[in-house]
């Protein structure tokens, strides 16, 4: 009796062909995107989205064309942080055969986010399935499919940088690396108090050794407190060794890109969709972000 491998083709579904076709469409879509950069962190709440938006703002203010893909499917925040009104964005896509035009945030940032597909902020992402219990099972598969669609079906146009805000943790990095062999690199964000530096190490090992994607470097967020009155930077966390993150980067053999101080004006602006970088461009935090943006540009070139 013949066995599986005795037949050259599958049952007629041409699965290889379909997957290759998906890859081809992805590649041709991203032909107009010069650099793709993924931003990751070990855990949530360290400021990954806020830093992504402000790095994008810094580059956009320099005249670069920026896109942000919000890959945090279950905790999307980029649309809100870039000042996009849900109601102003239409997903009445039948008109868009060539792809969905991204939503446009402040400073011309082009954004695609799960946010835009949900009716309101309170609605969690749930996938249609026979039962919600089963939906949970293929959540991962669906998230991967959505990531691919976000990359492929968004009419990005010409971009200098496409920043990808990954969900916390390392789960989605292999997907992104698989979809984007041309990924320019990853940024890893951490905060000084993060006890679980093991997670950061894990991320770096995964990116560098297993996925062979270049690590651009480590960014230390909320390091110290910048007084809005005098600009002095005081200590925020009672961290024993101020050099800890810098040292960790050195030990892991990746560049330390710098630190961003805690500045309440970041959340006062970014969280409500106002451009921190143009409103407080002279603040120490904004300057730190610009400096990091410069290092990213240098790394990529």
């Amino acid at each position: 009796m013949k066995r599986y491998k005795d037949f050259a083709s599958d049952g007629g579904s041409n699965i290889v062909g379909q997957v290759v076709d998906q890859q081809t469409r992805l590649r041709s879509r991203l032909a107009s995107v010069k650099h793709t950069v993924a931003v990751m962190s070990g855990k949530g709440g360290v400021g990954k989205s806020a830093v992504t938006v402000n790095l994008a703002s810094a580059l956009s203010l320099q005249g670069y064309r920026l896109g942000i893909l919000d890959a945090d499917i279950n905790g999307p925040s980029i649309a809100k942080m870039t000042g996009i009104q849900r109601s102003a964005f239409s997903i009445q896509h039948s008109a868009f055969k060539n792809g969905l035009p991204p939503a446009i945030g402040f400073l011309g940032l082009r954004v695609i986010s799960m946010d835009l597909f949900l009716p309101d902020e309170k609605t969690p992402v749930t996938w249609d399935a026979p039962t919600q219990k089963e939906a949970y099972v293929w959540r991962g598969t669906m998230e991967m499919t959505t990531l691919r669609e976000f990359l492929t079906d968004t009419e990005w146009g010409d971009l200098d940088y496409l920043l990808i805000d990954l969900p916390p943790g390392t789960d989605r990095l292999p997907n992104i690396a698989g979809l984007l062999p041309q990924l320019s690199g990853t940024l890893i964000l951490t905060i000084p108090s993060e006890v679980s530096q093991a997670v950061v190490k894990k991320s770096i090992t995964l990116a560098k050794e297993h996925l062979k994607t270049p690590v651009i470097g480590l960014i230390e967020n909320m390091k110290g407190y910048a007084c809005p009155h005098c600009g002095n930077i005081g200590e925020l966390f009672h961290s024993s060794g101020i050099l800890a993150c810098e040292e960790m980067a050195k030990n892991l053999g990746i560049p330390y890109l710098g630190s961003i101080p805690f500045d309440p004006r970041i959340s006062l602006t970014t969280d409500v969709g106002k451009p921190f970088m143009s409103e407080f461009g002279d603040s120490p935090a904004a300057k730190a972000i610009i400096e990091i943006a410069e290092k990213i540009k240098t790394f990529i070139l």
Binding site: M1, K2, Y4, G12, S13, T123, D128, E134, D153
Partner: protein
């Protein structure tokens, strides 16, 4: 997945697909030799897994996929949660378009393609050739690196099979190109 007609030792060909009907598909296969037919019935879970990968059973649809189709299709209908932003009609359409695309796929398309000569000769040849490992030249191996890892073994197997059929001893870029044309890759 492939199906074999055990009595004829022939690969069954996809005839048609019906559904989804409450989440399940009916996929009919037919033996090109004895014309026996049988249907594979999927449960909703199995259907979902395939659909979630955005792979169309029965080949790529005739119509081009709409932007963000899978994402929109699988997001739990907004109507269940409040004010719908996408018209309900659009959310519900996957049912009909899906079945249309499945049925309108490439069913039967390859039925004519494979007409092996003397089955005995083929088996003997294959038996001999199988013992020899197919050699991949470096460039061809590298080219395969562009194919997503998940389907690479499947693609390789298909190409090796093609090469054996043609009597090639090694896979060169040239062979790869030929095989590609055949698989529509």
């Amino acid at each position: 997945m492939k199906f074999l007609c055990v009595s004829c030792d022939e690969q069954m060909k996809l005839k048609e697909t019906q559904g989804p009907d409450e989440g399940s598909f009916t996929i009919v296969f037919r033996c090109p030799k004895c014309e026996r037919e049988f249907a594979l019935l999927t449960n909703p879970m199995e259907t979902q897994v395939v659909r979630a990968l955005d792979i169309k059973i029965g080949g790529s649809p005739n119509r081009a996929a709409e932007p963000m189709e899978a994402t929109r299709t699988f997001l739990t209908p907004l109507s269940q949660k409040g004010e719908p932003k996408i018209p309900n009609s659009e959310l519900q359409t996957p049912k009909s378009t899906e079945s249309a695309s499945l049925a309108g796929g490439q069913a039967g398309k390859e039925g004519s393609a494979s007409g092996p000569g003397c089955p005995f000769t083929e088996i003997v040849n294959e038996a001999f050739q199988k013992s020899e490992q197919m050699v991949w030249v470096k460039e061809a191996e590298e080219r395969m690196g562009k194919i997503p890892e998940a389907v690479r073994p499947m693609a390789k197997m298909g190409i090796e099979h093609y090469a054996r059929e043609k009597g090639y001893k090694e896979i060169t870029l040239q062979v790869l190109e030929e095989a590609k044309g055949k698989f529509g890759m």
